[in-house]
């Protein structure tokens, strides 16, 4: 294979209570992991601190809350701000919206995933982790239809199985894996693009 790398971007959906899994997933990625990572985590109403701030000391990557209009750059993970949808534009800048919640969620995993599928198509890797609803199922299938790679956390391992289970029931999933193996799969896929 030559020319443009197969993948360009990772999107992750995780429901409330997902801090623990994000801590171990982001903690397992090296600081030179090349692709930008966009994360929607459902936050509890009136929730306090931003996950980017809480997780910063566990991750080698740069973590930040997404700003409207900012271009995504490598080696950085962006979190949807509380109460805003996060979307990706075709010019690889981030967009926010205060459109109504999608099936009770704002930010919504589906909104992020569908926009990423539109923007980057086959270049997206979509991952659904633990969670207590079915957000992300439709988005994962949109990514798959666009030619991207779709991954669900092994429901047996997930703290709350409903979100990965819903994703698995909604259509074909390329990989159903425990968290540790998701991290190593990402590193393997990115391997050729990492300096050493």
């Amino acid at each position: 294979m030559s020319g443009r790398p197969r993948y360009q971007l990772v999107v992750i959906g995780v429901s409330a209570g997902g801090l623990k899994v994000l801590k171990s997933l982001l903690g397992a990625l090296p600081g030179d992991f090349p692709w930008p990572i966009l994360i929607v985590q459902h936050l509890r109403a009136g929730g306090d601190s931003s996950p980017a701030g809480v997780l910063r000391r566990y991750a080698a990557l740069r973590l930040k809350e997404a700003d409207a209009g900012e271009p995504v750059v490598p080696r950085t993970a962006y979190f949807a701000p509380a109460n805003y949808h996060l979307l990706l534009e075709r010019d690889l800048t981030l967009a926010l919206s205060v459109d109504p919640p999608v099936r009770y969620a704002r930010p919504s995993v589906d909104v992020l995933f569908e926009s990423a599928a539109d923007a980057v198509g086959a270049g997206v890797i979509g991952i659904v982790l633990t969670g207590a609803n079915d957000d992300g199922s439709a988005g994962l299938q949109a990514i798959r239809s666009a030619g991207g790679l779709v991954i669900a956390q092994d429901p047996d391992e997930a703290e709350v199985a409903q979100m990965p289970l819903a994703a698995i029931h909604a259509g074909p999933i390329d990989h159903i894996l425990p968290l540790a193996q998701i991290a190593s799969l990402l590193c393997d896929l990115a391997g050729p693009e990492m300096p050493s």
């Binding site: 979307l87 967009a95 569908e114």
Partner: protein
């Protein structure tokens, strides 16, 4: 050709058509959200594709209005981001007091929630009688709703909580009357608000404003349109006037960077400098 690619072409053709026929320019709306809204609108229509809808949109004003409503409606709340209203009271009101007459533009006012919240603050600060709020939106249907000052009663609990956290000094229930499932806002709040149609992407500015509120509107625009609108606001504001944006919007990277110091970090209240 893929469906996605076709959809992009259809959307571009439609937006060109709308500009030519109606003079509304949606070409510089941020694409990702616009696409979602267009798809959402289309799902509720009898047309299977945007090309089929185009015929009706370009020929039938009622269908066009429904399309505009579908792609421009912004959801809002009364006293959304209470910390913003706290800062408004503490840091902006003292300056507003120094003007004999206060003109405020609420751009993209949607159902009027922001304009009415502002009217309440001005009322409590004793400034409403010498203020005039120009509340504008592109969407005529929603302006009718805003003029009526009617909100869903179910929302009032949340709005009351917002109001209290925003530093409200009275009982929020004094500002509305409950009628069945709706809340009717007090008539005196409406007296100094002028709701009127205005299209930020093509219309000229209103002049001599002491303050402009445009929160969570620019996030739906691309960089070009955002800059054009900010220039419009710059022309409309008097020196020393205030520009208030949404909490996730900023002037960084815009044509006004550096010219409008932020009053209180992170709350997106900017003040236009006086000329040297």
């Amino acid at each position: 050709m893929t469906t996605d690619r076709l959809e992009e072409i259809e959307l571009r053709l439609l937006l060109d058509g709308i500009l030519a026929v109606y003079g509304y320019d949606f070409r510089d709306y941020a694409e990702a959200s616009l696409k979602r809204r267009v798809r959402h609108w289309l799902q509720a229509q009898p047309f299977t594709t945007l090309s089929l809808a185009q015929n009706a949109i370009l020929r039938d004003r009622a269908v066009f209005s429904s399309f505009v409503a579908g792609i421009t409606v912004n959801v809002s709340e009364m006293f959304r981001d209470p910390e913003f209203f706290v800062a408004l009271r503490k840091q902006v009101v003292p300056f507003l007091r120094t003007w004999p007459f206060i003109r405020i533009w609420v751009a993209g006012c949607s159902g009027g929630e922001e304009a009415y919240s502002l009217a309440i603050v001005l009322d409590e600060e004793g400034l409403l009688q010498r203020s005039r709020i120009y509340a504008t939106d592109i969407n005529e249907t929603i302006l009718d709703r805003a003029r009526d000052g009617i909100l869903p009663l179910a929302e009032m609990q949340k709005f009351t909580r917002n109001y209290q956290r925003a530093g409200g000094t009275r009982a929020f229930a004094d500002y509305y009357t409950a009628r069945y499932d709706r809340a009717l806002l007090a008539g005196r709040l409406k007296e100094n608000i002028l709701f009127t149609a205005h299209n930020l992407s093509v219309d000229a500015d209103f002049g001599e404003m002491q303050m402009i509120l445009c929160r969570n509107v620019l996030i739906y625009f691309n960089r070009d349109l955002k800059n054009r609108v900010l220039d419009l606001f710059d022309r409309a504001l008097t020196s020393g006037g205030f520009l208030c944006l949404g909490l996730k919007e900023s002037l960084d990277g815009s044509s006004l960077t550096g010219l409008y110091p932020e009053l209180s970090r992170g709350l997106r209240i900017y003040r236009k400098s006086y000329p040297d």
